[in-house]
Symmetry: C2
Subunit: 313 residues, 2 copies
């Protein structure tokens, strides 16, 4: 089936024409995200979709990945953090209205959509159980269990970012203390690393970026790869925290595969080596040789591919 | 259906004749657990079953709850901690052999069996999702999701006792640091409370029990109920830790009901009030008015009732 998948992000909207039989993207276009009321947003989106598919024959079902929470039957988007004016919005109905050439609009949360993509055509291919972790502005997640997305009581399951690693630790935006996101979320990770730099004033290639307050996780990864000790240390410590949180989930859910994508994960083995070691030393003895922590395979395309795939779920 | 349910514990074996239509126990007998090799154990168990059912008409399927891990198709018991001589034992086959009058032996982990019992006839009745927590020698758990026991990749899911509350915290028997069991498991809870008593030497009714090293969680609950401040404090703090661990699970799995049974839980609101408060203040804003933490309803009978119920799963 040739299907349109839409990945709505806070900065850009990616629209792809996807061959759902093999997950390949036949064509893909990106548009800046309009920050308008949901009904107007849907109209802009409809125009973007028409441009992106340019007269191609596509399935009459379109799939949409959206950031944030939704209701259990996935018709309403609820207070998406990147769309401050939106409350509880019937986005699927608005898009359906704006795109009468499509018979059905299927919507799902972006992390769940990416989980489905990695399960079918990525690092989770052929696996019955795994946890997808996305290290970005926030720390997201999706639980794949018994060959399906695990949704929980109201569809909100998978919030790996708010698994506790230290109940007396740093305050997280969710109101709890010591969630893994409060250490590995982009701004938390940077401000923590910067605080440490300011305290210790180590010799580091990051000095200038920290002093000008323009450091990004990608910079830390880049300088770590170039051999900068301080950068390597903060990435290794991020890995340890990630591994501890994964171990907690491995024991609770009997899941042995952890697929990690997004910003900090691009530092690769600088994060993964310490994460694997912490994961192994914190799981049950019988899990130690079984647990795996691997990079995501589909990268930023997971959203578009997964959005197309949810039309067939 | 009138069905035999067997709850194998480290100290005693409970055998009940259960009406599976309403969860009532028609008769129930308890025997001391023989610590013999698994095959001999099965023969003793067969004798106990014959005594316990005394010529009653029962279903030809018998259900057995066993402590510890098993293989995915639930025929083998693996290294149960309370049966040191056992390795990987085909207990279901041994029992079938010893009890030819039964056509089928169905076996499951004791926490999962109790979860099923609470789901059908206890505090989880009518609920699609909850977590059962048992506070005993260890801290056990069972995940009820989409109206079924959630088993994970190899059947081992539900180990709530090894959810992390402090990745730099007290060492747990599983090898990790800061698992909730390392604070609320019976011996951990007692030694932690005793250490604190020895350090602070507060005025407490527990003094004599601590000094003679004979204090049990039930004593702390009893003296707390009698107004002892120190006892109330350690129970309230136990509640906070429990609430933090529950909140981590509430966010990861989108589960809003937590059913708590066993030792420390018998202290009731002395533990539950602080647990509820910590749970509420550590979940997402939209979960705050939805989460519930309630006592288990079936008490020590959950094992026998659940064992009978698994025969119909």
């Amino acid at each position: 089936m040739i299907t349109v998948g839409v990945d709505i992000g806070g900065t850009s909207i990616k629209i792809g024409v996807v061959d759902t039989s093999n997950g390949s993207i036949l064509q893909s276009t990106s548009f800046p995200t309009p920050h308008s009321p949901a009904r107007n947003f849907a109209q802009s989106l409809a125009e973007f979709v028409r441009i992106a598919i340019r007269g191609r024959e596509v399935s009459p079902v379109i799939g949409i990945g959206v950031p944030g929470a939704m209701n259990a039957d996935r018709t309403l988007v609820r207070n998406p953090p990147n769309f401050p004016g939106w409350k509880e919005e019937p986005l699927a109905a608005y898009i359906r209205e704006a795109l009468p050439e499509f018979a059905t609009v299927v919507m799902d949360n972006d992390a769940k959509v990416a989980t489905l993509a990695e399960a079918r055509f990525g690092a989770g291919r052929g696996e019955s159980h795994f946890l997808l972790i996305t290290l970005g502005t926030g720390v997201g997640g999706g639980i794949w269990a018994d060959n399906a997305i695990f949704r929980g009581a109201t569809g909100g399951a998978g919030e790996f970012g708010h698994v506790t690693i230290d109940g007396n630790g740093d305050l997280c935006g969710c109101g709890a203390k010591g969630c893994i996101e409060a250490y590995l979320g982009r701004s938390y990770f940077i401000s923590r690393s910067r605080r440490r730099y300011l305290d210790e004033r180590p010799d580091t290639l990051l000095a200038e970026l920290f002093d000008s307050n323009t450091c990004e996780p990608e910079d830390i990864a880049r300088f770590a790869a170039a051999g900068d000790e301080f950068s390597r240390t903060v990435l290794a410590e991020a890995g340890v925290m990630l591994g501890i949180a994964c171990a907690s989930v491995a024991k609770l859910l009997d899941i042995s595969l952890f697929i990690v994508g997004g910003g900090i994960a691009q530092a690769g083995d600088l994060v993964f080596a310490s994460a694997r070691s912490a994961l192994r030393s914190n799981v049950f003895a019988h899990q130690r040789d079984v647990v795996r922590l691997v990079p995501a395979m589909l990268g930023p395309s997971a959203g578009v591919i997964g959005a197309a795939l949810i039309t067939a779920e």
